[in-house]
């Protein structure tokens, strides 16, 4: 019955979203969002915040339709620089760089961009549909997830990390430790203790994951290329076919559909965010892919899945923001502030008080998504021509945009110094064959896991049993045990079957 009610409200919502003026706001939003998202360092949160004053003159419905456009547009645009230039503009696009950039370098940039665009579209569509159908249910479940549950998920993620450590475990762990160490920098949230800040105020908020990613990926790579330019070819990067081939479609449709399954729930839960689902989606695709050897060298599944997950998590974010008034990401926090500017308090009563606004917003998400796909698919081959620029100029450009991006994160000159230092670490890691991905994952997972562990223990007043006192956590730990025992179990199963067959035959 709820679903029927939602459906009819949604149709009303389309009535609101499809008025010419609101369509215009949606189009303005997606254009602005894409344009700003393409700039490295400016993610959707910053985009919405910067454009907040522009919307003061609009009525709330129009303003939020535009915000939604900016939000999703920013995500579409964010993966473009991530894939082409290896300079992710926001943390959710970090994983896209890992497979997308090698693809771009081998002349498959358009395919990577198209896979990302369709991934965003699929993730956003499925995510938003789930938002319509499940909003009230998910909201109820979301508040039941607590610190012990998060920590269990983190442990699962850490176990999954071992599969991205690369061929040499020692080097993989070294890289992970570098990431975890960078993640430690800053003020300890529980006690206010300073860690690895060297007395610098600028370091006390920690180092933004975007700066770490841009430093390790783009700067490290550019320095590495510069160091080898004399020996290597000076020519431009080849630009291949413009569209997705049949073979690529066959490889990507499943990741596109799997992404939302991982992304949406993470977006909806209070401390979920977009980084961890993109990372988990990447691991999942790597495990399930038939082309495991291609991962790290440009596997299209590794772009399609995480991008779809990122988009779906954005839809999930809106669930908790609209139904609980609970911002789970920076963008949602900015949008929440925007709601309050209009004297509207998102929360349990929002759907009753402002149905036109809420359903108009949701409908415009669908509309915006279609607009973005139409806008971005034809642009993919155009963008990828950018790589025709000869390598020395291209990498000079990458260094420039990386610096702009790092500066844009906080507007502090010291961020540029940090960026360069991390870039040098990235260069050294390449020199000694350390994989970069585990370091990034360390930066993302480390602080999260630590905070949830300590919060769980704080709530239980120091009792270790507090970590396993919820059914959810116990289930996750059970999955971990099965995963760890899997190689052993696998050997056992077919063997057992064979023995049975032998007995039958005999």
């Amino acid at each position: 019955m709820d679903v029927m009610l939602s459906a009819s409200s949604l149709i009303d919502g389309f009535g609101t979203a499809l008025t010419p003026l609101n369509l215009l706001w949606a189009a303005t939003g997606v254009l602005l969002g894409t344009a700003i998202g393409v700039l490295p360092g400016i993610g959707p949160a910053m985009a919405v915040a910067l454009l907040l004053p522009v919307t003061y003159g609009l009525d709330p419905t129009a303003a939020f339709i535009m915000f939604a456009g900016i939000y999703y547009g920013g995500m579409f645009g964010g993966s473009t620089t991530s894939i082409l230039l290896n300079t992710p503009g926001e943390s959710a696009a970090v994983i896209a760089a890992i497979e997308g950039n090698p693809m771009a370098k081998s002349g498959r940039g358009s395919q990577a961009l198209a896979a990302a665009a369709v991934g965003h579209f699929a993730g956003g569509m499925i995510g938003t549909t789930l938002l319509v159908v499940l909003a009230p249910t998910v909201a109820d479940l979301a508040v039941d997830i607590g610190a012990p549950d998060y920590f269990a998920i983190m442990v699962l993620a850490f176990i999954a990390v071992t599969s991205v450590l690369g061929s040499s475990r020692v080097r993989g762990f070294a890289s992970l430790l570098i990431g975890l160490t960078i993640g430690l920098v800053g003020l300890d949230q529980m006690t206010g203790q300073q860690r690895l800040t060297f007395g610098s105020l600028q370091l006390s908020d920690g180092i933004d994951v975007v700066i770490v990613a841009v430093g390790l990926f783009a700067i490290g790579e550019a320095l590495w290329v510069a160091a080898h330019l004399r020996r290597g070819g000076q020519g431009a990067i080849p630009v291949g076919r413009p569209w997705l081939g049949r073979d690529e479609l066959r490889r990507t449709w499943k990741p596109w559909l799997r992404g939302p399954v991982i992304g949406f729930p993470f977006g909806a839960i209070p401390a979920g965010g977009a980084e961890i689902p993109t990372f988990l989606s990447y691991i999942t695709e790597k495990r399930l892919s038939k082309n495991k050897h291609e991962f790290g060298k440009g596997a299209i599944e590794g772009v399609a899945g995480p991008e779809s997950a990122a988009s779906a998590s954005a839809a999930g974010t809106l669930v908790s923001m609209l139904t609980l008034g609970l911002p789970t990401t920076a963008v949602a926090a900015v949008m929440l502030a925007a709601f309050q500017q209009y004297g509207i308090q998102p929360g349990p009563l929002l759907f009753e008080r402002e149905p036109e606004l809420v359903w108009g917003l949701i409908a415009s998400l669908f509309v915006g998504m279609v607009m973005l796909l139409v806008l971005n698919l034809p642009l993919a081959p155009v963008w990828s021509k950018l790589l025709r620029v000869p390598r020395p100029y291209l990498y000079a450009g990458i260094l420039f945009f990386a610096a702009v991006g790092a500066y844009a994160v906080g507007g502090e000159a010291i961020d540029l110094v940090i960026l360069l230092i991390i870039g040098l670490i990235g260069l050294m890691m390449r020199r000694y064959g350390l994989p970069v991905l585990p370091a990034i994952i360390g930066v993302i997972l480390g602080p999260n896991a630590e905070q949830q562990l300590r919060r769980a223990l704080q709530i239980s007043d120091g009792h270790v049993t507090g970590l396993v006192d919820t059914p959810f956590a116990v289930t996750v730990y059970a999955i971990i045990v099965v995963l760890l025992a899997w190689p052993w179990l696998k050997r056992l199963l077919p063997g057992a079957r064979r023995r049975e067959r032998v007995e039958d035959g005999g």
Partner: protein
């Protein structure tokens, strides 16, 4: 009808954008409050509390014709102390003001910041908002007295959640409450969350036994019955809510989360008075009064020297609490 409602603010926006460059060169505005080239610095990220305060004040001052075009910019970092350092370095600049609040007082201590609020020039305290004590609707605590009785018995077993890290407003409020109730602050089981939003989920889900946060953030959840309001920390009850103050419940604590404006050090008396005059005129404008209403802020006007003395007493209060916690 809708179209016109939409177009007229747009037209207004165009006028606002285009006209000031033409008229700023002209004479000052009525009452002589205009400070050409005035900038507001926000020491936290866009969308945060200080940000909304600064942007609202700037917009209202422009709309009320008190000042042409105030530029608002963000310099986030270390709980506002990065911005404070910048402010202190802008010695003698009478065209800069920083929005700040109680959170910055705590951040100066926890960050061991080199620049303190005593180094800057106090302009005025503008707004305040009480903190609230809330429990989920299915909690066994119906009144604050019941909660307090249990809290006194076993402080460790009653985790209290707040939306700020150590030294922030939501951390100070329960610590002051504990001290007044005779509970050793060190034994309080305080669980910090990243803002009122993240805390909300944990309160609703019963992960923490009670939550302390700003009233504005949870107004809706209280009205809808998802949360039960047990007490407010301010000096008076809040209109429309049936909850006692801490004093009525026998705790000698008054606590509000206030916000105000600071200016760089080394200002001449004229420079400082000009800023105070502008803010005073803003406070009396109908635009600002309307903003107070929509944001649920209380007027907490305290200008100049008086504000400076208040800052000093707040600083001492924060220092005492943090020292007792051994930080």
């Amino acid at each position: 009808m809708r179209t016109r409602a939409l177009l007229s603010p747009l037209a207004a926006a165009v006028v606002v954008l285009l006209v000031p460059p033409l008229i700023t060169t002209g004479s000052g505005t009525s009452g002589g409050t205009n400070i050409p080239g005035l900038r507001f610095m926000v020491p936290n990220t866009p969308g945060g509390g200080y940000d909304i305060t600064a942007r609202t004040a700037a917009k209202n001052a422009e709309d009320a014709g008190l000042n042409h075009n105030i530029e608002v910019f963000n310099l986030p970092g270390a709980g506002g102390t990065v911005g404070l350092s910048r402010l202190v370095n802008e010695r003698g600049n009478g065209k800069l003001a920083m929005s700040m609040g109680l959170g910055v007082v705590g951040a100066v201590h926890t960050n061991h910041a080199p620049s303190t609020l005593a180094d800057a020039t106090p302009i005025a305290r503008l707004t305040e908002e009480p903190d609230i004590v809330v429990v989920p609707k299915n909690s066994k605590y119906k009144t604050f007295d019941q909660l307090l009785a249990d809290w006194k018995k076993k402080p460790g077993a009653l985790p209290v959640g707040g939306g700020s890290s150590a030294g922030g407003p939501d951390h100070l409020a329960p610590m002051l409450m504990a001290r007044a109730a005779g509970i050793e602050p060190k034994s309080v089981n305080y669980v910090p969350f990243d803002g009122g939003g993240e805390l909300l989920a944990s309160v609703l889900g019963g992960k923490v036994k009670f939550g302390v946060s700003g009233l504005g953030e949870y107004r809706d959840q209280i009205e809808s019955g998802e949360l039960r309001l047990l007490a407010v920390t301010g000096p008076e009850r809040v209109r429309g809510f049936d909850a006692p103050t801490l004093k009525e419940s026998g705790l000698e604590v008054e606590f509000t989360n206030w916000r105000g404006l600071m200016a760089p050090p080394g200002l001449s008396e004229t420079q400082r008075d000009k800023l105070i005059r502008l803010v005073r005129a803003l406070r009396h404008s109908k635009e600002w009064k309307e903003s107070l209403r929509t944001n649920g802020w209380d007027d907490a006007w305290l200008p100049g020297e008086k504000y400076g003395r208040f800052l000093k007493s707040e600083d001492e209060r924060v220092d005492t609490v943090l020292k007792e916690l051994g930080r």
